[in-house]
């Protein structure tokens, strides 16, 4: 660290990248999948049928269902079907049932009857994993937020290291081993740099109340005061204990449409249902605006249908914070923008992956003549394989389990998750037992098979394969199958590169060694 500022930053970039790279790769890959959370869930629960959207009819069905099945509970939730979510989801507080005292049911949007869908966490598993890392609360959130900060640091130190950033962007030298990896790393990194900066900084904004609590404590004394100010919450009135029927929710929906014509409604909350003091709150769908908006909700008197209040307006500072949150989650994105998010997410995953491969590649060159790698380099190699191709296999394992586990199996959703981790563990063991290049090749080849065959498995097990989903216009289902197929082909290409013997390795090593003095500085 005596060498000067750029070298010091290159050192920091290299070592933080190595230590956090494996975890960051997993966070980026599962986070990228989460942009298609609802579509993955739709694939994972093919029993839920898609119907034309009709919010008024859906509200009537939900209200009828809740009044006859949840009359004993005072607190209801309704999530309306949307372009992305097929089911009409209802829920109610019930201390005796459900997860955390809350019962949820998916209703068919046309018949209003509960759908007996297979028990699966679907896209929600990947979404949760990308910021909770399957760890107990709140440790996973802390660790993933630290990773996000390290990512931001990696971007800034990376920019400082490659100060000739635009010149380097136009330098891509394919087929040159180590050089090509560096060029690829830089080109992808620069191309999607604004996205990377946004996504890592916004993850900090999402969890800043948790990781930087000191100022909230100093200013408010506790977090509830801060949240009340931020979200403009207020308490529901006390139960009057006078039974009073709820007005039809469809009528309230019409009143919201008068306020904001064309507003899509995300969810509806009913407090003190069936009481004279009932309150109904309609919240606009987060698909309608880029920032989260605390003002986009309307509260009605449940007994009379009178509009009581709209959410409080946001200050400029709030809009800034809420915009970062909205940009990160991308709920506002339509299909094309969503695909762009997905592509950028994959690019971020690739930047992390190429960085890890390069770290090892540079150091392997020094040991090209030896038969065995030194222990610490071998450890990095094994972790690289397990964290990258192993994770890809684990994701495939989750989807295969979703189609192959018997629908009646007890704790089925948990077994899907267990399969994910067992496959990941098996990939780690495989990487330990096999030599590096073989392990890469074999895992990528298996991944290629597993993904390329998913559409076939889907067709055979549910009858909703591409031959059915494309004519029916079910693009979430068809899109999943086609993406799996594309990923299978990509993995097959990567596997074929790895399984072929490295042709000019001996010739290339000295050449690369010649360029390495300058690269050692930027190691």
């Amino acid at each position: 660290m005596k060498e000067g500022f750029r070298q010091a930053m290159a050192w920091l970039h290299t070592w933080t990248g190595l230590i956090f790279g494996w975890l960051l790769f997993a966070i980026f890959l599962t986070g990228t999948l989460s942009y298609f959370k609802d579509e993955v869930s739709h694939w994972a629960q093919p029993e839920v049928r898609r119907h034309a959207l009709d919010p008024v009819a859906s509200l009537g069905l939900a209200q009828r269902y809740l009044e006859s099945n949840a009359a004993h509970s005072g607190s209801w939730m309704i999530r309306l079907p949307s372009e992305r979510e097929a089911a009409l989801n209802v829920g109610w507080r019930d201390p005796e049932g459900g997860r955390r005292g809350f019962v949820r049911k998916d209703l068919d949007a046309q018949s209003g009857q509960p759908v007996e869908a297979r028990d699966s966490r679907g896209g929600d598993f990947f979404y949760r994993f990308h910021f909770e890392l399957q760890m107990p609360y709140p440790w996973g959130r802390w660790l993933s937020t630290l990773c996000a900060f390290i990512m931001l640091l990696g971007l800034v130190t990376g920019i400082i290291t490659h100060k000739k950033i635009f010149k380097e962007f136009f330098t891509f030298r394919p087929g040159k081993g180590q050089r090509s990896w560096l060029d690829g790393h830089n080109a992808i990194g620069v191309l999607v740099l604004p996205f990377h900066l946004m996504i890592s900084y916004s993850s900090l904004v999402l969890f800043m109340y948790m990781v930087m609590p000191a100022s909230i404590m100093a200013s408010y004394g506790d977090t509830s005061g801060y949240f009340n100010d931020l979200f403009g919450r207020d308490e529901a009135p006390k139960v009057a204990n006078v039974a009073t029927p709820l007005v039809p929710l469809a009528g309230l929906y019409a009143k919201v449409q008068e306020q904001v014509p064309g507003a899509r409604i995300g969810f509806i909350q009913v407090q003190n249902a069936g009481d004279r003091n009932a309150r109904v709150t309609f919240t606009q769908s987060s698909a309608d605006n880029v920032p989260y908006q605390r003002s986009a909700n309307w509260t009605f008197e449940g007994a009379t249908g009178e509009l009581l209040k709209q959410g409080a307006p946001e200050s400029a500072t709030m809009m800034t914070a809420f915009s970062f949150a909205g940009l990160h989650m991308g709920n506002y994105a339509g299909p094309w923008l969503r695909w762009l998010y997905f592509a950028f997410g994959l690019a971020g995953t690739a930047v992390i992956g190429t960085g890890l491969v390069m770290w090892l590649g540079k150091r392997q060159l020094k040991h090209a003549k030896q038969e065995r790698l030194p222990g610490e380099l071998r450890l990095v190699e094994v972790l690289n394989i397990a964290s990258m191709s192993g994770l890809i296999l684990a994701v495939a394992g989750f989807f295969w389990a979703n189609r192959l586990l018997p629908v009646a199996l007890q704790g089925r959703a948990d077994w899907e998750v267990n399969t994910f981790f067992l496959v990941w563990l098996a990939a780690l063991l495989h990487a330990v037992l096999r030599p590096g290049r073989r392990a890469w090749g074999e895992q990528l080849a298996l991944g290629a098979l597993a993904f390329a065959l998913l559409p076939l498995l889907n067709a055979l097990s549910t009858g909703q394969g591409l031959n059915a989903s494309v004519p029916a216009g079910d693009w979430a289902m068809a899109g999943f199958d086609l993406t799996a197929l594309a990923r299978g082909l990509f993995l097959a290409w990567a596997a074929s590169k790895m399984l072929r013997p490295p042709k000019p390795a001996a010739k290339r090593a000295p050449k690369a060694a010649k360029v390495s003095p300058e690269m050692v500085e930027v190691q």
Binding site: A8, V205, A214, S215, K366
Partner: protein
């Protein structure tokens, strides 16, 4: 990479550990105190001042990290995060005392 494999003296390794701790813990302290001072002192509504402090704190965490690895010695790294923290701590403490006498 022989240099990183075996040839480094213990003192260098300890200095790296010391810098890392200065960045991780000292930097966090600095960032936290920046957010406290901004939350208490900015002439904005309470929630806006708190939000601004929270959002800017990470910029200072980042700068502290860069400082801790760019400066000439591990001692300077600690000094560079602890001195401003001390000043901010006094400032924040005074502001807190004014608001909650």
């Amino acid at each position: 990479m022989k240099r990183s494999a075996a040839g480094l003296p213990l003192s260098y390794r300890l200095a790296v550990v010391s810098r890392s701790l200065a960045a991780l813990l000292g930097g966090y302290l600095l960032a936290s105190l920046v957010s406290v001072c901004l939350a208490l002192l900015l002439p904005l509504p309470q929630v806006d001042a708190t939000l601004t402090g929270l959002m800017l704190s990470f910029v200072f965490y980042l700068l502290a990290f860069i400082w801790c690895f760019a400066c000439r010695s591990a001692w300077r790294a600690w000094l560079g995060v602890l001195l401003p923290s001390l000043v901010l701590g006094l400032l924040g403490g005074f502001a807190y005392w004014m608001k909650n006498p």
